[in-house]
């Protein structure tokens, strides 16, 4: 049975309680004022994106087409900042409502480039789910692609030379028609397309 505390001990207990409550108030202040990078805030806190822009190197040789099937696993890995899963046998699966690719090259470029993409849309329960894919390069929207589910489609997207002057292309593929595969599946797991190959080629 707890005995009543002696006076000095009681005062110390009151004081410790007050200190703890003050410390908790400070921590709660930190809770509502996080100090984090923009990509962290967008993905984890504000949840304005399902694709957290990870600082991958984007190491790439300009003019090559990289396979996003298992045979190109190593070459594709540094090109995928976020929003991808795999590769599996039928390609690298986009997960979430957008995915990113990063190409960073050292070769000199003078003229426009062409973004080469081989895509196929997912199926849900065996039913085709055609997808529209918005393509942004270095924050500028270039085009919208229509991707079917029956067979892979090849796309060449013109990239103006002025967009990629520093040897880096940050490409965002947005999936406004991404599919929720189950009732409780969160947006970070929505499905849209599978990527089979990608590259930046001289136009």
């Amino acid at each position: 049975m707890t005995q009543p505390l002696r006076q000095p001990v009681a005062l110390a207990a009151y004081a410790l309680t007050a200190i703890l409550l003050g410390a908790y108030a400070l921590v709660m202040w930190w809770v509502i004022h996080p100090d984090v990078p923009e990509s962290y805030r967008a993905y984890y806190i504000d949840q304005t994106t399902t694709c957290m822009n990870q600082p991958v190197a984007g190491t790439y040789t300009l003019g090559t087409v990289v396979s996003f099937l298992p045979d190109g696993r190593d070459a594709a890995k540094p090109l995928k900042p976020c929003g991808w899963e795999g590769p599996t046998g039928d390609g690298t699966h986009a997960v979430g409502t957008s995915s990113r690719l990063r190409f960073s090259w050292s070769e000199p470029t003078t003229g426009p480039l062409s973004l080469s993409l081989d895509l196929i849309a997912v199926k849900k329960g065996g039913v085709a789910m055609p997808q529209t894919v918005d393509v942004l390069v270095n924050d500028e929207k270039l085009t919208t692609l229509n991707v079917g589910s029956d067979a892979p489609s090849h796309f060449d997207v013109a990239v103006p030379a002025g967009l990629v002057t520093d040897g880096t292309a940050d490409i965002v593929l947005e999936f406004p028609t991404a599919v929720q595969m189950g009732l409780t599946v969160p947006p970070t797991r929505w499905r849209s397309i599978k990527l089979l190959a990608a590259g930046l080629l001289p136009a």
């Binding site: 009681a10 009151y14 309680t17 703890l20």
Partner: protein, 386 residues
């Protein structure tokens, strides 16, 4: 000497010694069963590889935490799933011990887990009504039962259960300040540990009523007792300390919560998840699916909570209901682990089974057999056990 006295078996081992020997025996039997299950399941199994070989799923996260600590942002492997999701108390404890002993991490973790289980069992003696059958069943459940993997490898469940038992043992003796101290550790072990404060509050209320107090004078009475105030204030200390650490490490005191998004957990109503799990019937045959096992486990958890309520163990019941229900908002994943590691659940189950000697013996044998299948299921990635 009467016949009755003559027929009574002489007690040759003192009770205190018996209470220590029972969990030690359970620990040895459990190790033997799990090792043979491991050897029968894994290629190239050896005694040397046992502790590492049985470390699966989240265990590897805890090993990394104990050896390396928390990752920063971005993580070294550029994964969205940072290890801030895992609470620090148990990996920190093992991390300190591996620094002190210089022994392999899983060896230290296994020894620590078994020691904590033995400690939890011994401390639970008064919580089990001082019933030797229930006590033995509880020992076998933790150390040689179907879910003994959680309490004998490197999972946070063992420290969580140990501290929960300590809190309730302290509350039973009305040592509220001690309960608050253990609760502080509990809230640094798993997020739901912070809700033990409700159990403390209920026990304080019941104590107040026993002393003739009324509802109107409850709050003034608590304010007159600095030990009670301090107990309440101590309970969330572990959680807030971890949040403060995350603020300095990540800039986000709620990083442990925010990172859950990376695991793509669903969010919904618990009854819907349980119903859907129960309806997830097998495509062939009659063996229940992993989802169905999780659904049934959850229902068993609620039944045991109801029994706790019926037995007027309001603190345990309230804590169990909160700790059961909150994880359910994120789906059924890991419910088997959560229920078996939620101390009032196995305590109540063993107390019920221990009321009858025949039932107790059958349950004990079933648990020992279950240890084999639980280990095999663990090693063959049976999803309900994750």
């Amino acid at each position: 000497m009467t016949d009755a006295v003559a027929m009574r078996p002489a007690r040759t081992i003192p009770l205190d010694v018996t209470l220590v020997l029972i969990p030690i025996a359970a620990a040895v039997v459990g190790l033997v069963i799990r090792y043979f299950a491991y050897a029968a399941t894994v290629d190239d199994a050896s005694l040397a590889s046992f502790t590492d070989g049985i470390c699966r799923w989240d265990c590897s996260w805890y090993v990394h935490l104990a050896e390396v600590g928390y990752d920063g942002f971005p993580t070294p492997n550029l994964s969205n799933g940072g290890n801030w999701a895992f609470f620090p108390a148990y990996p920190l404890l093992v991390g300190v011990l591996i620094k002190l002993t210089a022994l392999p991490t899983m060896l230290v973790a296994t020894a620590t887990s078994i020691a904590l289980s033995i400690g939890a069992i011994r401390i639970a003696w008064p919580l089990l009504g001082k019933n030797l059958y229930a006590y033995t069943l509880f020992a076998v459940f933790l150390l040689a039962g179907p879910f003994s993997i959680y309490f004998t490898t490197f999972y946070t469940e063992v420290l969580f259960l140990f501290l929960t038992v300590c809190v309730f043992a302290a509350l039973q003796q009305r040592r509220f300040l001690l309960a608050g101290l253990f609760a502080a550790g509990l809230s640094a072990t798993r997020i739901v540990g912070v809700f033990i404060v409700f159990a403390i509050l209920i026990e304080v209320w019941l104590d107040h009523r026993q002393r003739g107090g009324t509802f109107r004078d409850f709050i003034p009475a608590v304010f007159r007792r600095p030990d009670l105030l301090l107990s309440f204030a101590l309970a969330p200390l572990g959680l807030f300390a971890y949040m403060a650490f995350l603020h300095f490490k990540m800039g986000d005191a709620l990083a442990f919560q925010h990172v859950q998004r990376a695991w793509g957990r669903p969010f919904g109503l618990p009854p819907v998840f349980v119903w859907n799990a129960l309806l997830a019937t097998p495509k062939d045959g009659f063996i229940p699916t992993a989802s169905q096992v999780l659904g049934v486990t959850t229902i068993v958890g609620y039944i045991l909570s109801a029994v706790l309520l019926a037995k007027r163990r309001f603190g345990m019941a309230a804590y169990s209901l909160v700790a059961l229900t909150l994880p359910l908002f994120a789906g059924m994943a890991s419910m088997l682990r959560f229920v078996s590691g939620l101390a009032p659940m196995p305590l109540m189950l063993c107390e019920l089974l221990g009321r009858n000697r025949v039932v107790a013996v059958i349950a004990l044998l079933a648990m020992l057999v279950g240890a084999w299948y639980g280990t095999v299921g663990w090693l063959t990635q049976y999803l309900a056990l994750v």
